[in-house]
């Protein structure tokens, strides 16, 4: 029987680990600190900040309540459109990648697929947009292609998870019933996957709307172009109108997406 003092002296100590982590973090912070140096033109910046803040609460109402093709509502529609079509394109493009990477299908060769997917995921998407501009020129079509390629990474990762997760028990039970391969897929796999796939695609759509709002910065369509140009010209009220457009659409989509996904998961 050990005494209290003995137990106290035998307590596990993490001193080495803790010192290592602290030193590493300290080094990381010191090494990174140069980015904290303040740029010179700061005093002028405060005046601009005041103007931006003022404009934010008094945006260019004419741009918000208009149906013209350079008004905020139309551009937000275009932005949503880029996200909708881009997400669908991504959902299609992801299928082959997923099947090439699922461990239950290709075994150890999934390394190749994994590398390709990681590369696509880490590829800065503004670069992709700049590449697609050579195909479809400036405009929303480029945005669609970019968002499509950008979505491959996440959607295929989730497809793969789903494929590797499929409950083999259900397939076996259908085998026992004497089902054909098509029937197995139609009645065995798809019902299991449907809710999952839809919820993943909706989630990605939500992210894509946010991405589509900034693609315009490299002229790939959507509200971002107007935002960038307005800010460049110092037309803060026009920029504020665009920002309110983004807030309105993103909050709305966030609300519905969360609601639909909750319903899908809870059945």
């Amino acid at each position: 029987m050990k005494t209290v003092i003995q137990t106290y002296n035998e307590r596990p100590k993490h001193t080495v680990r803790n010192i290592f982590i602290s030193v590493f973090l300290l080094f990381l912070i010191i090494w990174s600190s140069p980015v904290l140096s303040l740029p010179d033109a700061f005093s002028a910046g405060m005046a601009i900040a005041k103007n931006i803040a003022k404009a934010f609460f008094n945006p260019q109402w004419d741009n918000i309540f208009t149906t013209s093709v350079d008004g905020v509502p139309f551009l937000m529609f275009e932005t949503i459109g880029i996200a909708v079509l881009g997400t669908l394109l991504g959902a299609l493009l992801a299928i082959p990648f997923a099947f090439l990477t699922a461990r239950t299908i290709v075994g150890k060769f999934n390394v190749i697929g994994n590398t390709i997917i990681t590369t696509i995921r880490s590829f800065p998407f503004f670069l992709t947009a700049l590449m697609f501009i050579r195909v479809s020129g400036p405009g929303p079509m480029t945005g669609v292609l970019t968002i499509g390629v950008l979505s491959i990474g996440m959607i295929s990762k989730l497809y793969i998870e789903i494929i590797e997760d499929i409950d083999p028990g259900i397939l076996q039970s259908l085998d026992a019933l004497g089902a054909t391969r098509y029937q197995k897929i139609r009645y065995g796999i798809l019902p299991q996957l449907f809710a999952n796939i839809i919820s993943v695609v909706i989630y990605r759509f939500e992210i894509n709307v946010k991405n589509a709002t900034i693609l315009g910065i490299v002229a790939a369509g959507g509200i971002g172009f107007t935002l960038n140009v307005a800010m460049n010209a110092g037309r803060w009220r026009d920029a504020a109108a665009a920002l309110w457009g983004i807030i309105f659409v993103v909050v709305l989509i966030d609300y519905f997406s969360t609601k639909i996904r909750k319903k899908l998961i809870n059945g």
Binding site: L25, L28, I29, W31, S32, S33, P34, V35, L36, S37, L38, P39, A41, G45, M46, A49, I52, F77, E78, I80, G81, I82, V84, L85, L88, T118, R121, S122, F123, P124, F125, F126, L127, L130, M131, F132, R134, V135, S136, G137, G139, P140, M141, V144, K210, N211, T213, I214, I217, V218, G221, L227, N228, M231, L243, I246, I247, V250, V251, D254
Partner: protein
Amino acid sequence: MKTLCSKISNYIKTLIKRNQIHRTAILKDGTSITRPFSYSLISMIITLSIFMFFWNLIVSAFFKRFGVGTFFSNFSNFFTIIKRMVLEVNWSYFNNVLGPMADTIRIAVIGTIVGSLIAIPFSILASQNIMGKSKVPTIIKFFLSIIRTFPILVYALILSYIFGYGPFVGVLATIIFTFGIITKMMYEIIETTDMGAFIAIEATGATKLQAFSAAVVPQIMGRFYSIVLYNFEINLRASAILGFVNAGGIGRIMNDQMALQRYGDVALMVLALLFVVIIVQNISQYLRKRLS
């Protein structure tokens, strides 16, 4: 007009009735069972019409203006760029990449650390179960949902007009972005934590803050670190494009070299980025696995 309206409404009524009969099965012993109404057809029609609307707005409008042929012949441009990227990787550009690449990592490091530190108090204040009946959580949640509407680049864009060009803007944008995400993830975790221990420690005479740090913190610490690591991965990818709006990091020279069509230089930058991202991702995934 009136007759037409009533005709339509009658037609809809019969449709609904017929549908209900269709959904009802009568068993041999006379019991009837009605299948619940399915919205799948309606939602399919809505989805399809949304799709067609946007297809018209963007894709067919594009094809009408430029033609399907141009689009596909232009696709060779895309593959030319990729081919040149692969074949002309410019290794001698490496020294120019080093500095901006380091800045990209630095922005992600400082942004993640500061952002997550600020997130700690706010995620406690946003948790209804800790704050009792107070209205503070509702207010904070409202502001958080607004903060999270903007992508990181919009923050960088706005801040670059206030603070001028350079990595400092990138850091600020990353802090705001990280703060928004981590606070949300953390209050969701705190609100679903088992409060039994919290109540027990409060019953020993501890203040709310003491009970929180003694009873809730040990239960959520692992997940907090894991969320911070996950956000560091996201921030690293995001800070690579911050340079496109002059907010520091590798994106700036990427944009420049792309405009100059020096695809070999761009390829090297992509490789460097890929290298860093894969290393960070692997370390982070290893640590996150150990944390859970």
